[in-house]
């Protein structure tokens, strides 16, 4: 019996069931659910994210199709928020014009805000699609789990010929370099909340976030 108990303990240790592993995983509520990010001012649907427990995620919306990436979790800030840094593992695929998404028309926001002014994650395209055109001088730098965006930051996203990348690829390139978002982590499925720390100045630095059940 003693031998059985000792074996069980060893297996538990091997599986990482020690005390440190029992610390709360700040991302666990996102596993098997869908985080939707929308424009902080107008609710423009901007991105959907599936975060997995193995440190990877899939993001879609605003960049045509799905995109795999990995994330890193930073130390908790004094205000309790935890910085989550997303890194796309891709620079995107070459989509022929016949299959390219048609930019969504200006249906007009339900109240306030310019059509198309939303931004991906938690708003997916920080500073990206405002007004439907990329801001050429806008870039982002990430240092110590903190991303700062604005004119003069980051490197311009250029193709092999030195021309600015199309909007979707420019956003992908930005996320390839890493984008960090301080996040509240005390949420439950069905919640709708606002984050005020989007590094992008678009939508007033605000993101609306929704946590949907399942992957959708």
């Amino acid at each position: 019996m003693l031998r059985l108990a000792a074996t069980a303990s060893l297996i538990a240790l091997a599986l990482g069931l020690g005390s440190h592993a029992q610390a709360r995983d700040p991302m666990s509520i996102y596993y098997n659910n869908t985080q939707v990010c929308a424009g902080g001012l107008n609710g423009d649907d901007a991105c959907h994210m599936w975060v997995f427990g193995n440190g990877t995620f899939v993001m879609f919306g605003g960049m045509q199709g799905g995109h795999f990436g990995h994330y890193k979790i930073g130390p908790a800030r004094p205000d309790g928020k935890i910085p989550i840094c997303y890194y796309l593992d891709t620079l995107g695929i070459d989509i022929p014009p016949e299959l390219a998404a048609t930019p969504a028309g200006p249906a007009g926001p339900p109240g306030g805000g310019a059509p198309g002014a939303g931004g991906p994650p938690p708003g997916a395209a920080p500073g990206g699609p405002a007004g439907g055109m990329p801001r050429r001088s806008m870039g982002c730098d990430t240092v110590n789990f903190h991303t700062t965006c604005g004119p003069g930051h980051g490197k311009p996203a250029l193709d092999a010929q030195g021309k600015p990348l199309p909007l979707a690829k420019g956003i992908i390139a930005r996320f390839h370099n890493g984008m960090c978002y301080p996040m509240q982590v005390d949420h439950k499925v069905g919640d709708h909340w606002i984050e005020k720390d989007d590094p992008s100045p678009s939508q007033g630095g605000l993101d609306q976030l929704f946590l949907l059940p399942g992957h959708r």
Partner: protein, 149 residues
């Protein structure tokens, strides 16, 4: 007899794995690539990923601007995942999709019907880089098998 049973048990996982791969082998041109579609009437697009292990993901952009009001939408984007089988058919690859359980039901959206629900379609064989027209439930799609993801 005992040795035979133990031997069979030891080999069982390999047999199961082999069978699982046999049910997806026909889809191998799609592994690590993207099957894109675009509805010719609405402009909605999709992006289907098939993995060697029998799982798939598909992502949609309705092409219609949406302003999210709550967890029920409306949404411009949608994603689905599930399991699939793929077998060689006389006119291409017979692909059967089974989305994961859908609880609660997704809000009605504007996603293309292609690859959206449980069921089978036959995809003609094309090399990576090809584009072709495809008809499904009265809708015409442009489809392309594009390198990478």
């Amino acid at each position: 007899m005992r040795k035979i049973i133990l031997g069979a048990l030891a080999l069982a996982p390999f047999a199961i794995a082999g069978r699982a791969h046999a049910q997806t082998d026909a889809a191998s041109p799609y592994f690590n690539n993207s099957l894109l579609c675009k509805s010719q009437s609405t402009g909605a697009v999709c992006d289907l990923w098939l993995d060697a292990g029998g799982k798939y993901m598909v992502f949609y952009d309705s092409g219609k601007k949406a302003y999210v009001k709550g967890v029920d939408g409306p949404f411009e984007y949608e994603g689905r995942q599930g399991t699939y089988t793929a077998v060689v058919a006389p006119d291409g690859v017979r692909l059967c999709l089974k989305p994961e359980a859908d609880h609660p039901p997704r809000p009605r959206g504007n996603s293309p019907a292609l690859f959206h629900d449980a069921g089978c379609v036959t995809l003609p064989s094309h090399p990576v880089g090809d584009l072709w027209d495809y008809s499904y439930r009265g809708e015409t799609y442009k489809i392309g098998l594009i390198a990478g993801r």
